[in-house]
């Protein structure tokens, strides 16, 4: 009823036409149009549809492989992948690889984000220093950091360190730039307030500049976890003894396509878990900053 009422007011010629013209509009009535209404499906129906789609895709894949429409040498097939999955976890190095990739990603993420943000925040202390550092940061920002990966491996070796360093290289600059953008957006009136209270520079930095920039730094966390993972994987591609990236690369070069798929699925799951954890961290931090 409510919808009909609003509709009638909007559509009634006498209401939106100026007085005196109603005789003209009376001859051409507007078509009765209704507000389009979309009905939400219940949650179980949505989930059922999602699962159905998944099963359908996997079923079609399996069927095509068996029927020979799809070359299973290149594309593998779900049943084989399932089997490889079990082998990978029971007889293979699944947990060693997962833990290796996880550790290098998390370490790179934490070190890159904190040092990068602190570097960006440090520009608040001196405009001259910021001006001097500026071209170098822009240079490093525009450089494709992954191109440095072979060099980093050469310098830091085949172990975990080199992967962490690549992850840091990817996350550092963006953290610096974001924190610096936060510094530039700090309200000068807020600084004035602190100074009028007789605050020292260190007090202004700690009690005002850092909390003001925190929402900026938080906003970069989700981007950085993805970048750190990319860095770790690329490092493993180039040269490594462990890790999911190394497994994918190794399986690909030995035509073990089903293992490639398994490692990709495991990697995706790892990525989703880390992304969810960072999103959770973000919401907790945001609550703390009340913005």
């Amino acid at each position: 009823m409510a919808i009909q009422d609003t509709h009638r007011v909007a559509g009634l010629p006498g209401v939106d036409a100026p007085p005196g013209t109603s005789s003209r509009t009376k001859t051409q009535p507007k078509p009765a149009r209704r507000l389009p209404v979309q009905k939400d499906w219940p949650l179980w129906a949505i989930i059922a549809a999602q699962l159905g789609l998944l099963i359908g895709i996997i079923g079609l894949w399996e069927l095509s492989a068996r029927a020979g429409w799809l070359d299973s040498f290149f594309w593998s097939q779900p049943s084989k992948i399932g089997h490889t999955f079990v082998v990978f976890f029971t007889e293979g190095d699944a947990w060693t690889d997962i833990s290796f990739t996880f550790r290098s990603t998390i370490l790179g993420f934490i070190i890159g984000t904190t040092t990068g943000s602190l570097f960006g925040l440090s520009f608040w202390w001196s405009r001259n220093y910021a001006a001097i550092a500026q071209p170098y940061i822009i240079c490093f920002e525009s450089m494709p950091k992954l191109a440095l990966a072979p060099l980093i491996i050469l310098v830091f070796g085949l172990g975990l360190t080199s992967k962490v360093v690549i992850a840091i290289a990817l996350t550092f600059v963006i953290s610096t730039l974001t924190a610096y953008a936060g510094v530039k957006a700090v309200d000068p009136d807020g600084e004035k307030l602190f100074y009028s209270l007789g605050a020292t520079r260190w007090q202004v930095f700690r009690k005002f500049v850092i909390p003001s920039c925190l929402p900026w730094i938080i906003s970069v966390l989700r981007v950085n976890i993805g970048l750190a993972l990319t860095g770790a994987i690329v490092g493993e591609f180039i040269s490594s003894q462990h890790g999911l990236g190394r497994t994918i690369f190794y399986a690909g070069s030995t035509y073990e396509i089903s293992l490639v798929w398994v490692a990709v699925f495991v990697l995706s799951t790892l990525a989703v878990i880390m992304y969810a954890a960072v999103s959770w961290l973000e919401s907790v931090l945001r609550k703390g900053t009340r913005q």
Partner: protein
């Protein structure tokens, strides 16, 4: 009454490509302890510049600021300064915002909170102590900002258009509230406003200012007895002062335009 704040030939000039721009003509101003003094004038008359100079945030190009007879030019932390924006920190509760001045001065947090709590309750912020500023109305935010300025424990407080952004009704309430605070705390208040009526109603003395260069056109003592009542704004005495102020501002504006 002893002189609390004295501006001694304080002037402000900037070098611009077109020559020297005089923002504030060298001026003298004496404010006695415990008085409520207003500066009224159009934008660009140097009110805010003067405030920044008194607060030590801006070095005047000439002259000195004396507080209690001591040279305080360019010294920060000598006066409480409330800027136009309330500048409450969104990540702190109202209570923790209010104690900011004491905290910066190095007072232990617990002690500062204990001191602030009863005052929040007494001055209309009861029930808001542990809320965050974003859940407060404009009037409440101004109250918190003003209490923060008062709790900074300086004899002089500078208020830069504290009620400029409030609606008319809230503004009147806040004026009464400020009067109560002022008589309870016995501070020397320097108040900047665009609102002539507000200035007369609150002040012991008004300095009407003009632009280009910023200067004091005339100083008008307000001899209306305290405590004041809204009805006072309707008396011939009040209206006469208001007329004189408006005439001053108007004539000046016309001269500027000519």
């Amino acid at each position: 009454m002893p002189v609390k704040v004295r501006l001694d030939r304080v002037g402000m000039a900037f070098a611009t490509p077109g020559g020297v721009f005089r923002a504030v003509e060298p001026l003298d101003l004496s404010i006695e302890a415990g008085r409520f003094v207003s500066l009224v004038g159009p934008s660009g008359c140097g009110k805010s510049t003067l405030f920044n100079v008194i607060a030590g945030l801006l070095q005047p190009t000439e002259g000195r600021v004396l507080i209690d007879g001591e040279d305080a030019t360019g010294t920060i932390g000598r006066v409480g300064y409330m800027l136009q924006k309330d500048l409450l920190l969104p990540w702190r509760t109202v209570l923790d915002n209010v104690i900011l001045g004491m905290e910066v001065q190095g007072k232990p947090l617990k002690e500062a909170r204990e001191r602030a709590l009863p005052l929040l309750q007494k001055y209309g912020l009861a029930g808001f102590e542990y809320l965050y500023p974003n859940s407060l109305s404009g009037g409440m935010r101004q109250r918190a900002a003003l209490l923060r300025t008062l709790l900074f424990d300086t004899d002089v407080i500078l208020l830069d258009e504290p009620f400029g952004a409030l609606d008319a009704q809230t503004k009147l309430q806040m004026q009464e509230w400020l009067m109560q605070l002022w008589s309870d705390f016995q501070k020397t208040v320097v108040f900047v406003t665009h609102d002539v009526e507000e200035a007369i109603y609150l002040s012991d003395e008004i300095h009407v200012m003009g632009t280009r260069p910023g200067r004091i056109l005339e100083s008008i003592p307000i001899a209306i007895s305290r405590p004041r009542d809204r009805v006072a704004t309707l008396t011939p005495q009040f209206i006469a002062i208001k007329e004189r102020c408006l005439r001053l501002l108007n004539t000046h504006a016309l001269e500027e335009a000519a």
